[in-house]
């Protein structure tokens, strides 16, 4: 009986093991890294809303403090999205009849909600809390970026677990004095003449900031 396999299949089968290994490895790497791409995290993609609300105008040029609208951020887990009444405090006079603001006026008249699309949305098996970050000295900017330069809100960071952990392992890279939490574009060198390393080390001690990497910190 003739041989079923030619002799060359010996080499082929050996080679195919190597090739399969490489392909599997590549696929594995790809699956890990695809979750880091901006395509999956939808990072840096501006989001269109029903009302073209701009932080550039309201924060950048009018100089409103974040807490004028995001009132809960110091005391609770969520920062809160302002009710249309907050907008109407100004927009019942300023730009009173602008068509662009009609959804806000309608919501105020009929007591309905303006349907803002969530830009930051952690999976629901993750526990996050704004108040501890803000009170321990992490500025909005460290996580949300230069909000005052965003005509439309977008996600500055991936919100991946590795991103949270990069800071939780060494929070001193980001710590700020408590009166600068809401400032955009704050720079320790210019304001205090200190490097971030010096300032971070000092504030970490002063405010007793811990490095929290235990799984139960965020998965509870």
């Amino acid at each position: 009986m003739a041989q079923v396999f030619p002799k060359s299949s010996n080499t082929l089968s050996k080679a195919s093991i190597v090739v399969a290994g490489i392909v599997l490895g590549a696929v594995g790497l790809a699956t890990i890294n695809i979750n880091r791409t901006t395509y999956v995290t939808t990072q840096s993609m501006p989001i269109e809303q029903v009302v073209q609300f701009t932080h550039t105008h309201h924060v950048g040029s009018l100089g409103l403090d974040c807490r004028f609208c995001h009132t809960a951020v110091e005391e609770s887990s969520y920062a809160g999205i302002p009710p249309s009444k907050t907008c109407m405090g100004c927009h019942s006079v300023v730009w009173k009849d602008a068509p662009i603001l009609e959804p806000v006026r309608e919501s105020f008249r009929n007591d309905t909600s303006v349907e803002w699309i969530k830009v930051h949305d952690l999976p629901e098996f993750v526990y996050f809390n704004h108040s501890i970050h803000v009170n321990k000295g992490i500025g909005c900017e460290s996580c949300h970026g230069r909000v005052d330069q965003m005509p439309l809100m977008m996600r500055q960071n991936s919100l991946n677990m590795e991103w949270c952990l990069a800071c939780h392992r060494a929070p001193e890279q980001f710590l700020r004095p408590k009166d600068q939490i809401y400032t955009m574009g704050w720079d320790p060198e210019k304001a205090l003449g200190m490097t971030q390393a010096e300032l971070g080390a000092k504030l970490k001690l002063e405010n007793n900031v811990q490095s929290r990497t235990n799984c139960a910190t965020c998965h509870r």
């Binding site: 195919s16 090739v19 009018l62 809160g80 405090g89 100004c90 019942s92 300023v94 210019k190 304001a191």
Partner: protein, 214 residues
């Protein structure tokens, strides 16, 4: 043959990677989540009218309404001492808090010294009166509390955004502003009078707090 298998495993792996959403969106409600159960689609439900949470009866008219015997209170409520931590320095703490809250909630319209020349006014908001006019100088604290709580003319009420204790703290700070805008050199402590003519330079990015290390 082997390649076939590899392709199959690769497909499987991609499949696993793509079904990530099941535990991401659980049927529980987080703040602001939509709910199909209610007509207004809000998962956060308003309190039934008349609900009183334990310990929140709000009996203290002076504290919660700014009124004593139905008239705007001439004094600050006694309960504030506890709210701001008591001890010898609660008034300083209250003023500091008031300054902070005033700058967040009121300066956009009323300006940082309360002259009614805030940023929003420059962009078309109705101009509020200055706090330093005679009428408002003479208005009692309870009156200011009432304006914050219930609004006044073109100014909507701020009660959703400013807590009761913070409203009083703001009123105290407005009183301090009123004093400061009518202060004379004699009111400045002797050891600081020199600084009036020779203010210390402030470097870029410094605020009054960081400058004086307060």
């Amino acid at each position: 043959m082997k390649l076939h298998h590899a392709a199959f495993v690769a497909l499987l792996a991609l499949g696993v990677a793509s079904c990530r959403q099941d535990m991401h969106d659980q049927p529980k409600h987080k703040p602001f989540t939509r709910s199909a159960l209610f007509k207004d689609q809000r998962s956060a439900r308003p309190l039934v009218p008349g609900t009183v949470a334990r310990g929140q009866l709000m009996e203290d008219e002076h504290l919660y309404l700014g009124k004593v015997d139905g008239k705007p209170a001439e004094t600050f409520p006694a309960a504030l001492a506890d709210a701001f931590g008591g001890g010898g320095e609660w008034q300083q703490r209250m003023l500091a808090r008031g300054r902070d809250r005033f700058q967040i909630q009121c300066t956009p319209c009323h300006g940082s010294v309360g002259d009614g020349n805030g940023m929003i006014v420059q962009r078309g908001m109705k101009r509020p009166p200055s706090y330093h006019i005679d009428r408002l100088q003479k208005s009692p604290p309870g009156y200011f509390f009432d304006v914050i709580t219930n609004g006044f003319g073109a100014m909507i009420d701020q009660k959703d955004r400013v807590k009761v204790e913070d409203r009083w703290a703001i009123v105290a700070y407005i009183r301090a502003l009123q004093l400061s805008q009518n202060a004379t050199v004699a009111d400045v402590p002797a050891e600081h009078r020199d600084e009036l003519d020779h203010p210390k330079p402030r470097t870029e990015g410094q605020t009054p707090e960081t400058q004086h290390g307060r």
